[in-house]
Amino acid sequence: MPEPIRLKDHEKDARLIRARVVVSAGAIFLLALVLVARLYYLQVVQYEHHSTLAENNRIHVQPLPPPRGLIFDRNGVIIADNRPSFSLTITRERAGDWLKVLDTIVEVLALTPEDRVLFEKRVRQGRRPFEPVPVLFELSEEQIARIAVNQFRLPGVEVDAQLVRHYPEAEHFAHSVGYVGRINEAELKKLDPVDYAGTHHIGKTGVERFYEDLLHGQVGYEEVETNARGRVLRVLKHTDPVPGKDLTLTLDLNLQKAAEAALGDRRGAVVAIDPATGEVLAMVSQPSFNPNLFVTGIGYKDYAALRDSIDRPLYNRVLRGLYPPGSTIKPLVALAGLDTGVVDRSSRVFDPGYYQLPNVEHKYRNWNRGGDGWVNMEAAISRSNDTYFYDLAHKLGIDRLHGYLSHFGIGQRVSLDMFGEAEGLMPSREWKRAIRRQAWFPGETLITGIGQGYMLTTPLQLAQATALVANKGKWHRPRLLLRADKLSPEQLVAQGLVEALPTPSDIRLKDPRYWDMVSSDMQQVMHSARGTAHKVGDTAVYRIAGKSGTAQVVAIRQGEKYDRSKLHERHRDHALFVGFAPAEAPKIAVAVMVENGESGSGVAAPVVKQVMDAWLLGENGRLKPEFMPPAPLEVVHEQ
């Protein structure tokens, strides 16, 4: 037993401890209150905030990309469709050391270091967090299998099936339909991030580019619940995407192929237009390329080969090729002459083989150095006499020449719906003063009158000008779209789906018979014995109105003669030919340019005729009934 004195100590100790316990109890109570206050703050005061955080954690909105609209030719043949394709995607956030994972992919699939560089670039371009970024497309069965076997080494890497654009007709429509390609950084900045969420491709050129908005469709959404690792657990809400509109083009696959065949393996361009509507029936720029290469990202080597090829397959000659129109514009100049009253049908010019301005030494040569003697308009067009047109151009002056030719679409964008069309150049006094800081010289008017000099036109402009002559001045912008789903281009504009582009005013001549006169002269080119293209015209079972032309590639100096043997093949003249048929009721207007083809009537004219034949003739070798001209008025008149 403890001693009493110790007991007293214990009493004191017990009191001390009891006091400390009371203090502790108070402190514990207060600290517990702090905890409750903290929980109250989080769970009641900040409830909204944390609730939202937790929901955002849980619910992810996944975009469902819309299937891109299909593209058909005018007969319903498919030109662009979507095919399932397997691509390899990587999600940076799930891959951990993603650079190392990329190394592993390259190793597993035995790819090259260039691919590795490309992969890294693609991943760095990746958009939102936790979004899988495709790095490699069109996986083969073997590649898919290799990835599957090595999956354990490839965190965050998945094989993803998606629809990818495919062009079954490959190079036939590369320059008209164009192609889609991966969205690049510059485009990403301009695009609506909501609309293009989940879409990896966008139209880069051609119809694909111009009608991107129609083709793309509307993105759909899926609200999914995901766990912290991003795995989808269930779908909460689903909104279907609206597929893009299917486009039916005015192009005709058969005519396109016929035009290409007519051009053969020469470089050049062919445009065929229905003059009554502006529908472009064929659009050939040769050589072409396979647009499928661009869809999933063209390899560096392939691209370099296309880009550096001397034949320039990527160059759209129809829309961007700029050539002096040469004699093909003579009918237009003739119309200007008639309409202004500067000349009439009987006006004649004596051609000694050259033309001289008063008091000027310089001789403006006719192509026929010997001269054609007295020529009137009909002879001047059918013989393509330069002297007559030097004289006519001189009488018209550059201002009136500029006015008329511009109205025919020279020097301006004529198309309704083509991407990247070049303007060309129709020179004028103002233009020369502004660009060259020089006055206009009368001699420049002369060579403008025969389509040389500063003037530059695209094959499309030539076709359009020809179609205008065929259609007696009634303007229809050349277009590629026939309808989108069931909507006509006019309805699309009315619904605000496509921006309206004003049509130039129709060309009204003082006397509408001028059209027939010039058309008749153009028919002489084909069908009179002295016509420059009578060899081609002789073989036609219908009447063609046409005009040849040559576009100089290198200037021939004064007094020098064009000598083909001296010129490098690539420096030879471009051969041009324009025409429409049947001349009495035109159904097709064609412009052909053959690069370095030299002879408009010899090389380009047969191409024009073959295209017309392909369009107009039935299997029996006669005009298709729907293209039959009404009653051959001229014949009646002669009888």
Partner: protein, 381 residues
């Protein structure tokens, strides 16, 4: 006047207590009831937090069984007997820590375990959680209170040695708890307020020194993250942002059992161990969390009653130290999960999954029971 030490009981009292089965088994009824309540609650919450993992539940249940057994076993030991063996236990504990220091088993970047494969795998630091307050209680109970300056210094040295060893493992959480368990005994023993204030003032340079010389990079990182979790939302700040979102999104009544999205969709890290209070708060709301806190406070209240009613100085000091340390467990865990305190690895007592801490805690309560049920009854004749 009514000190419990010399409290005398009526004959009926004595008879009633003697005859009580619980008394004979040296079990304290209120403590047992509250602990069983917590055990049930724990299994309930764990089922949800672990993603309906029944295996894990069975393991935890068996840990409860083991803990219960060790509690009851310890409750049978007389406090006097304990006091006798405490110094030896302390020496053994420190030696084991040294063994860990030299050849411990490394798990998750920290050397905390002694692993004799096939035989035993345990953390000596857990053992010290009970031995430490017992040692200080034993040391201080040998002389009269309040502790003199010399006794205080010796106590601090006794506390300091194992704390430094544990800090070197490194395990900041356990070191803090063991430091607290020893310090609380000193506090309950009546450490002078002036000295406490002095120590607090001196702590400032010590903390600064710790920051530069003692704390490991990952520990500093935790403190950085604590001060500004949003600075690294996907890295180290992730845990705390997600646990706050879990707690906050629970609201007043919670999302319902098994319906917590943060834990079930794996946004919440360590959801069945250190961060389980976030699961409970998400699914049962403020109401659930407050109910749990109330159970804890009742346990602590019972512990303080036992402290006051203990008959021996050793018993009083040990009971007080253990009870206050228990509250520190609760406070640090809930504080860290709710973003009040930096993240240190302290589990939520009885609720978090983990056998070791459970057995340690139950053993502590076994000591409390022993202190309370081994009182000598002096009957008035």
């Amino acid at each position: 006047m009514n000190s419990n030490f010399d409290r005398t009981l009526s004959r009926e009292d004595v008879l009633r207590r003697r005859s009580s089965l619980l008394q004979r088994l040296h079990i304290d009824g209120p403590l047992l009831l509250l602990l069983l309540l917590l055990a049930c609650g724990s299994l309930f919450v764990l089922y949800s937090a672990s993603g309906k993992d029944v295996d894990l539940l069975l393991k935890q249940a068996s840990s409860f069984g083991l803990g219960m057994a060790s509690m009851l076993l310890i409750a049978q030991v007389e406090p006097r007997f304990m006091a006798r063996w405490v110094p030896l236990g302390y020496v053994c504990g420190v030696l084991l820590l040294l063994v860990v220091e030299v050849m411990g088993h490394n798990a998750m970047g920290a050397t905390r375990w002694i692993n004799i494969p096939g035989v035993i795998r345990f953390q000596p630091s857990e053992f010290l959680k009970i031995i430490m307050p017992a040692t200080i209680a034993w040391y201080l109970s040998r002389s009269s209170l309040p502790p003199s300056f010399k006794h205080t210094l010796v106590s601090l040295a006794l506390i300091g040695v194992p704390c430094v060893l544990i800090l070197r493992q490194p395990d900041l959480g356990t070191a803090v708890l063991i430091l607290a368990s020893g310090a609380f005994v000193l506090f309950v023993a009546g450490l002078r307020w002036l000295w406490i204030a002095g120590a607090a003032a001196a702590a400032v340079p010590v903390v600064v020194g710790m920051w530069y010389f003692v704390l490991h990079e990952y520990q500093k990182q935790r403190i950085h993250t604590f001060l500004d979790p949003e600075s690294d939302p996907l890295g180290t700040g992730w845990n705390i942002i997600q646990s706050k979102a879990a707690i906050g999104s629970g609201g007043v009544f919670g999302k319902g059992w098994l319906l917590g999205t943060q834990s079930h969709l794996d946004f919440l890290p360590e959801s069945h161990t250190d961060f389980i209070i976030a699961v409970l708060s998400e699914e049962f709301g403020l109401v659930g969390a407050c109910l749990l806190l109330m159970v804890y406070l009742m346990l602590i209240a019972r512990g303080l009653v036992i402290t006051v009613q203990a008959q021996t100085l050793f018993g009083k000091l040990l009971a007080g130290g253990l009870t206050l340390t228990f509250f520190v467990y609760v406070f640090i865990n809930i504080g860290m999960v709710s973003g009040l305190l930096p993240v240190v690895g302290v589990p939520l007592p009885f609720i978090s999954y983990g056998g070791t801490s459970l057995v340690t805690l139950m053993s502590g309560f076994g000591v409390l029971m022993s202190i309370h049920t081994h009182r000598k009854w002096i009957t008035k004749v």
